[in-house]
């Protein structure tokens, strides 16, 4: 078998990834997991490479995960916490990028509140850009670690025709969007579910589908959960009430919260996921989040090898260029 060649210098979204790309990430992540577990020797493929984490939005889990992943591969890690107010101070995103480039950044891991911000940077940055979340658009490393986690739990490691339900605030979710591309490529039977106000626009996308594969969009939580193999709950933010999209968090919890009773509709071995951070008691009940079907901690664990794999693959292309 000829090894599939990775050709992406940047990781900006999941829509640009082919299924062989994704499989390569999964294989490489598997190798990295063995390293993390101490079963294999780590090759310091990022030795001397400056990996700069540029986060315009607060994040603990994703930033730390990238930091650990880069460090394990021998990189020099720089963390930059830029507040959204740098715009008002007059320094543009590209100015900031140029400063970081001048101070040695070769791989820029960035999170930004504006959809498409990493695409702008990628067009001007000499090194590689890894999107750690942009606006409502994409969170590619999360979707890939989600797939890695799902594959570990599904018989045969295949998502083909498996029912995967993403439940919650779909409209504002970059995690949902990135997962839609990955799960469609994996051949899953994808359902997205939430209140009508938080599904706006998705009906047309579901019908159009991805790569010719449609997905189901519904506010009927029972229909969505029935027989599901994977249930992924998404965070509900308080701001959604101020925006007139939800009456209250309590009402959301009672109608859409992932409770033990609702989870009973899913397949007996269904796994429960959440990209975090969680509002226990709102989108997910505490006993479900911490219950036997939950793989939420595993998602966090898997973040490191998956990000190691992506950093390695991207760096190989960057240095070959």
């Amino acid at each position: 078998m000829v090894e599939h060649a990775w050709r992406h210098r940047h990781l900006l979204d999941t829509e640009g990834l082919s299924w062989p790309d994704i499989e390569l990430v999964m294989r490489t992540a598997g190798e990295m997991a063995a390293i993390v577990a101490g079963e294999a020797e780590a090759e310091p493929v990022l030795r001397g490479v400056n990996v700069t984490n540029l986060f315009y939005e607060a994040s603990t889990r994703t930033r730390v995960s990238f930091e650990v992943a880069a460090t394990r591969l021998g990189a020099d890690v720089v963390n930059v916490t830029a507040s959204g107010s740098s715009v008002t101070k007059g320094e543009s995103l590209l100015d900031t990028m140029r400063t970081l480039e001048a101070t040695g950044a070769r791989i820029l891991v960035m999170r930004h509140a504006s959809s498409g911000a990493p695409h702008l940077v990628a067009r001007h940055f000499a090194g590689s850009v890894v999107n750690a979340g942009d606006g409502w658009h994409a969170h590619p490393t999360q979707a890939l670690l989600d797939l890695f986690t799902m594959q570990a739990h599904l018989p045969g490691g295949s998502l083909k025709d498996r029912k995967v339900v993403i439940l919650g605030d779909i409209l504002h979710s970059r995690v949902a969007r990135s997962n839609l591309w990955v799960l469609s490529a994996a051949g899953a039977d994808v359902w997205i579910c939430g209140p009508s106000t938080l599904l706006r626009g998705f009906d047309a996308w579901g019908r159009a589908g991805i790569g010719g594969r449609s997905f189901t969009v519904t506010s009927d939580v029972s229909a969505a959960l029935r027989g599901a193999d994977v249930v992924m709950a998404l965070r509900i933010q308080k701001e959604r009430m101020a925006g007139g999209l939800l009456p209250s968090l309590g009402e959301y919890a009672s109608r859409f919260g992932l409770t033990r009773e609702r989870l009973g509709l899913a397949a007996p071995n269904a796994i429960v996921m959440h990209p975090g951070p969680m509002n226990e008691g709102v989108e997910i009940a505490a006993d479900v989040a911490n219950g036997p079907q939950s793989v939420i901690t595993e998602q966090v664990v898997n973040g490191v090898p998956v990000r190691m794999a992506l950093l390695k693959l991207i760096n190989d292309v960057r240095t070959a260029a």
Binding site: G116, L120, R200
Partner: protein, 468 residues
């Protein structure tokens, strides 16, 4: 006028003449002497052999109902001089400038500054100006409408900052109507578009951009028309012009209002006619190529047409580029006369304002030089007759302006001073930043070839632009 250019002599034989004012097109010849259109000869029979509308076309100079030059306030984006050079390059001999400069054109003395800048530019183009409808475009109290009317404005508009209060808007219609001038509205229900980045639809959903829904335009148009119907009962001279309409719903409201006899006109832009929201995702196909035979939108992802990087900020414009079906509705409105004119909404910006995150980028396309090319794309595709396209750039906007702008002769009229454009339809030209005369290089068409090279633009009997 030391800066004024010389009156020209020009002879064009064996061309295709299009004169929408006379509702006539065909083979012909023109002779300009000392800036005066001395003769217009329509060729017939054997003399006309071999002349068709695919070669050199001569038409009356174009009139742009909607352009933004940034002087005073932001000369880096556009000066009066650079804007006029750009307009001439685009084939325009008359431009109507929107008043959202800084300071906004809400005082007659600001118009004097504008006239001085036009004079200093040496451009022979006709510059018409709108005044603001409300003081400082704040939507709270009427600007000095009467004084600005006396100073020669051709209408009033708070373009880009639509008047939210129905009461103030009603007053503006009534007062402007008393002065015999139209109110020009950019229809947008702001409570639906707060923070909007792109047309509310499939592309925005996929790209995670905040949606600007079509209904926000329809609601505003509906309000405006209801208020107009109310006002004209007491002020029969009241007139409303709706600019850059972009949706089937709002165009249909205008269609019905016109049928009911309301004094309303509207325009569409070249970019809403030819481009669509799928360009934001990286597609570069024209609007009519994005629909299937049944009129349904094709899937640009499935079609594999996403060739350019996504989130190109030169595509950020307000109203946003819409769906292929919406673009088709703009075309249909041109064909059935619902849309009176094509207006460019030329909106030059600096790199500082455009080389930023998509959601932070300034709205607008530098479009006065590419307007003809985009319109001719529709003509070349067999979607739009040349005569209608030219009419929408000439007689249509002239009708919208009415008698207030009768300063220049309209049409190919013998014995009058020449205002015309000569286009070679057989020549395609490459849009480049250096090639645009506008200071605003914010065009999504950079690097693309467009049909219809302007050979010469003659305004007031003088050469305003000549192809190198």
């Amino acid at each position: 006028m030391s800066t004024a250019r010389a009156l020209i002599d020009l002879e064009i034989s064996r061309a295709w003449l299009v004169d929408p004012y006379a509702r006539r097109e065909g083979p012909g010849e023109i002779v300009v002497r000392d800036g005066v259109l001395e003769s217009v000869t329509w060729l017939e029979g054997r003399e006309a052999d071999g002349i068709d509308d695919r070669g050199v076309v001569v038409a009356p100079g174009f009139i742009d109902l909607h352009a933004h030059f940034r002087e005073p306030g932001n000369r880096a984006a556009e000066t009066i001089a650079s804007g006029l050079a750009a307009a001439a390059h685009g084939g325009f001999t008359s431009v109507c400038l929107m008043p959202n400069t800084s300071p906004a054109m809400d005082q007659p003395w600001l118009l004097a500054g504008l006239r001085a800048a036009v004079e200093a530019s040496g451009s022979p183009l006709e510059v018409l100006a709108y005044g603001t409808a409300t003081a400082g475009r704040a939507g709270e109290q009427l600007a000095g409408l009467g004084a600005m009317a006396d100073a020669g404005v051709v209408g009033f508009s708070d373009d880009g900052a639509p008047i939210a209060s129905a009461t103030i808007f009603r007053s503006a219609l009534a007062y402007a109507g008393m002065l015999g001038l139209p109110v020009v509205d950019h229809p947008e229900e702001g409570s639906l578009t707060d923070g909007a980045e792109a047309n509310d639809g499939l592309v925005a959903t996929v790209l995670g951009l905040r949606g600007w829904p079509s209904v926000a335009e329809a609601i505003a148009v509906g309000r405006d028309l209801a208020l107009l119907a109310d006002v004209v009962r007491e002020v029969p001279t009241a007139r409303l012009h709706l600019t850059h309409l972009s949706t089937p719903e709002s165009l249909d409201l205008v269609r019905r209002a016109k049928a009911a006899g309301l004094p309303v006109t509207c325009d569409i832009t070249p970019h809403h006619l030819a481009l669509t929201d799928e360009w934001l995702a990286g597609s570069r196909r024209l609007a009519w190529d994005a629909l299937d035979d049944r009129g349904e939108r094709r899937d640009p992802w499935l079609d594999g047409v996403l060739e350019a990087p996504p989130y190109e900020t030169s595509l950020r414009v307000n109203p946003p580029l819409r769906s292929p079906a919406d673009a088709a509705a703009c075309l249909a409105a041109l064909l059935d006369g619902t849309a009176d004119a094509i207006a460019t909404d030329h909106a030059p910006h600096t790199e500082v304002d455009k080389d930023v995150e998509f959601g932070l980028a300034a709205n607008g396309i530098s479009g006065i030089e590419t307007a003809l090319g985009l319109v001719l794309e529709a003509v070349d595709a067999g979607r739009l007759p040349l005569a209608i396209a030219v009419a929408a750039l000439t007689a249509g906007p002239a009708r919208v302006l009415g008698s207030r702008a009768d300063g220049r002769p309209r049409g190919l009229v013998e014995g009058e001073c020449a205002n015309l454009v000569v286009v070679d339809r057989s020549a395609r030209w490459l849009v480049t930043a250096e090639g645009l005369a506008s200071n605003g290089k914010n065009s999504p068409l950079l690097g693309r070839e467009l049909p219809g090279s302007v050979l010469a633009t003659v305004a007031d009997g003088r050469l305003a632009y000549e192809a190198p």
